[in-house]
Amino acid sequence: MQITIVGAGKAGFAVASQLAREGHEISIIDKNEAVLNEALAALDVTGLAGNGVTRELLEEANAGEAELFIALTGNDEQNLLSCLMARKLGAQNTIARVCRPEYTSMLPLVAEDLGLSMAVNPEKEAAMEIVRLLEMPSAKKIETFVQGKVEMIDYDVTADSPMCGKQVKDAFANMRTGLVAAVERDGKVFIPLGGFRFKEGDVMTVVAPAGKMYTFFKEAGVPQKVIKRVIISGGGRTSFYLAQQLLKQRIRVTIIEQNEANALALAERLPQADIVVGDGTSHSVLDEQGLDEADAFCCLTGIDEENILTSLYAKHIRRTIKTVTKISRVELTPIVRPLGLGSVVSPKLITADQVVSYVRAKQNGVGSGVLTLYHILEDKAEAIEFEVSQRSKLVNVQIKDLKLKKDVILACINREGKILSPRGDDALQPGDTVIIVTTQTGFDVLDDILRDE
């Protein structure tokens, strides 16, 4: 697909790198030549320096022939204008990043006139992901598939976990709410079979229908804490969206914000929340606000390093606290991994995922049997959605009788919109779609997952 991206910042870069890797033809437009050159050196894309709103530049970039035009600069108005221009020049679909809360209500009214296919709001999406993480405190990371119908979470196996030291078939005997699709141990990803034995330090990846995850963990015997009190450090847009959502669920929220004017504005719009003016990195402010009694602590300031340090401090004060750390600079992710930080959220990556899944959905039905392909567990594994055709050798055979290749697992079945967690006595039917999780690559049709006879 021919795609034009305006803005080579963090979000633009993340989107471009994912899409370029999937074989799309990407052109990037950015005002800042230095930033652009960095992107050009790292990715197989072309670039053009200049203002992505002007007609001259968009024409030079051939934006009119783009099947998708994405505006991801930090300026909402500019993004909307860019998209409008691109539409007028002939771009088929446009996506704009619009992040000011004031504009959320405006979008549905004008989206059609602007010809906008989708608006992405990294801060809001990040807030929604944090909400999901707080609903499932034991999850380290949550991803959704199949238009949000399937959830996948990462869970740290600790010495206290009920499955620790047990085999998969014993730990999750007779459970139909979800399944363990992968286990990461010492940086390597395994696809566990029934006989796989869990160890402390494993990261287990569970796939379950949306909404069933809670039940899955309850049945597995993992104590589920209910979050009742959340402290948020930093009063930016993410914090606003998050607080708004949490307050709806009657969770007590305290926001610590340094800037008095910002704090006042928040207080005006979130009357039920406790807004405190103070330094969110100061231990006395945190202690005063009751960090030792809070269930969750979200560090969402604009400075990654501050977020990392305060999260670590919070873990130190209260070992059981759920922390969520916002990290904007994706480069930091590998550096913080050994720190045991708990959940990490990067708004830019979430935006990238959103755009990428939009592109994949657009491509559906083209060519091979793969409906969608997700890179998961930091690219160490793939989740692939296949359509089950009439002729497939897998149809009407009980799953326990299928001779699957090593390192492949059938993670879930989508039967007429209903998501099932497959068990040995289930069988696939034509018209189903299935998600398989695998550490191998190169599956083009569903029957490829069968062992060669």
Binding site: S17, A20, G23, H24, E25, I26, S27, E33, L40, A41, A42, L43, D44, V45, T46
Partner: protein
């Protein structure tokens, strides 16, 4: 530095070369030159074996940066030329390795300078291979390999493309390196094929049509006759004149024409200046040499052929321009240095560099009389970033230094100044023939082995536009 990855890329190059050698081998089989069949089989097998070991190296990370791109290309071209010299040695037709190496470097860098005193003595297979190296070297071997596979992870291929392609600011035609490589070679093959057909129609045999087309396409200049192109009929000479000029055009322009943006292509500043300079040079020389020929048309034909050949840095000749009046000789030496367009298969400084340098010089002049004046250099209607201007100025400095240094070194042999100067100009700009001793009827055979090595360095520096070669030779590139 990622040495394993660099070695891997060199290995892939050698494998490509081993494959390409099967073509001259087929020619040898068809012409029943059994000695050459054996030479090419042996060379190809040897290269395949070496590349097997390089490709099998365990490469931990496939990421490459600017440094690896420069070194891989420079090293790749040296190794490639050394490998390409093997069949000449094995077949016994150019027994000295330095001579064979010179000939192959001259081939791959599309120079066309030869150490052979009697070209016609070579076997068909070797003549074919000599001309074919022009064709391969013209567009680049790595770009050729890039069509089939991506060599590095991420966007690393652009570093290779930048080092191997010509011009000050190499950019891709389309977002993906692989598609860009395909377009470039697609256009290249199409125009070459067109020329082959026309040459066949003009009454040449298949072998002549092929070798002449390879020599034109790569802007190389190896002929298969001692008299270069002079012995062919008028139609052939005119076809070659036109196609030489066409291969000196930025391939980006052809891409624009292909994608129905011909207007943009013809508005291209470099293209206009290129044809402008060419026409001016042809006019001056035609007037200057009119007296030497029976009529003006004959003079025009020879002037056009020589200018087109020299300016695109091809190096074919239909007349011994060494015997021409001094003004014409000087004009030819000047267009040698100017060269063809960036992004073409031609060599030289490149029109775009000359344009930007002239504009920058003019800007500096204006600035000296009104120091507070603010002005930017424009090229093709766009601002040229200052780093690019200083990059080109730096290129010029290195170019001059290499020119002077080489001149000094080859003067050890004691030949006359004109031969020496034009010899260095003709190799550094990938033309081939110079004046006097190295003129169109002469060759480089008389120079010592050491001087030949200097010329080899010049040819490689010219084709790769200096920086890759210097980057490879700098110790700090290799330091940990």
């Amino acid at each position: 530095m990622n040495k394993r990855m660099t070695a891997y890329i060199v290995g892939v190059l050698l494998l490509a070369e081993a494959g390409l050698m099967l073509l001259p081998m087929a020619v040898a089989l068809m012409c029943r030159e059994w000695n050459c069949v054996y030479a090419y089989l042996l060379s190809s097998g040897f290269l395949a074996m070496v590349s097997y070991f390089l490709i099998r190296l365990r490469v931990e990370t496939r990421t490459i940066y600017s440094r690896e791109g420069l070194v891989a290309v420079a090293l790749g071209w040296v190794v490639l030329s050394a490998g390409g010299a093997l069949p000449f040695v094995f077949s016994g037709e150019i027994p000295s390795f330095v001579d064979a190496f010179f000939e192959t470097v001259s081939g791959f860098t599309t120079t066309g300078a030869s150490i052979l005193t009697n070209v016609e003595a070579l076997s068909r297979a070797n003549l074919f291979w000599r001309s074919f190296t022009h064709w391969v070297g013209g567009m680049g071997v790595l770009v050729f390999v890039m069509m089939t596979q991506s060599l590095s992870s991420g966007g690393g291929d652009i570093h290779l493309m930048r080092s191997e392609s010509t011009g000050p600011a190499v950019s891709k035609l389309v977002p993906r390196s692989r598609s860009t490589a395909k377009y470039l070679y697609g256009i290249y093959c199409m125009i070459t094929l067109f020329e082959i057909v026309l040459l066949l129609v003009a009454g040449n045999d298949v072998f002549t049509a092929l070798t002449l087309s390879f020599g034109t396409a790569g802007t190389g200049g190896f002929g298969i006759l001692n008299s270069s192109v002079a012995a062919y009929n008028n139609a052939t000479q005119i076809i070659i004149t036109i196609f030489m000029a066409l291969f000196g055009v930025n391939f980006g322009c052809y891409y624009l024409i292909l994608t129905k943006r011909a207007k943009e292509a013809f508005r291209n500043e470099e293209l206009r200046v290129y044809f402008g300079v060419m026409l001016a040079a042809i006019t001056v020389i035609t007037v200057n040499i009119a007296g030497l020929f029976e009529n003006v048309w004959e003079a025009l034909k020879h002037a056009a052929f020589q200018v087109s050949s020299i300016m695109t840095t091809t190096g074919f000749a239909t007349a011994d321009f060494n015997q021409w009046p001094e003004l014409s000789r000087m004009v030819l030496v000047l267009v040698m240095i100017v060269g063809a367009c960036a992004g073409s298969t031609g060599g030289g400084m490149k029109i775009s560099r000359i344009i930007i340098l002239c504009k920058e010089g003019y800007r500096q002049m204006k600035k000296s009389i009104s120091p507070n004046r603010v002005e930017v250099v424009h090229f093709n209607g766009k601002r040229v970033p200052p780093e690019l201007v200083s990059g080109i100025a730096g290129f010029l400095i290195l170019y001059v230094l290499i020119f002077l240094g080489s001149l000094m070194l080859i003067s050890l042999d004691g030949f006359d100044t004109t031969s020496n100067i034009t010899g260095v100009v003709a190799t550094l700009n990938n033309i081939g023939p110079g004046l006097e001793m190295v003129g169109p009827t002469g060759n480089y055979a008389a120079y010592s082995g050491f001087s030949k090595l200097v010329f080899i360095f010049n040819m490689l520096a010219g084709r790769l536009e200096i920086l890759p070669l210097l980057a490879m030779l700098m110790p700090r590139t290799w330091r940990k």
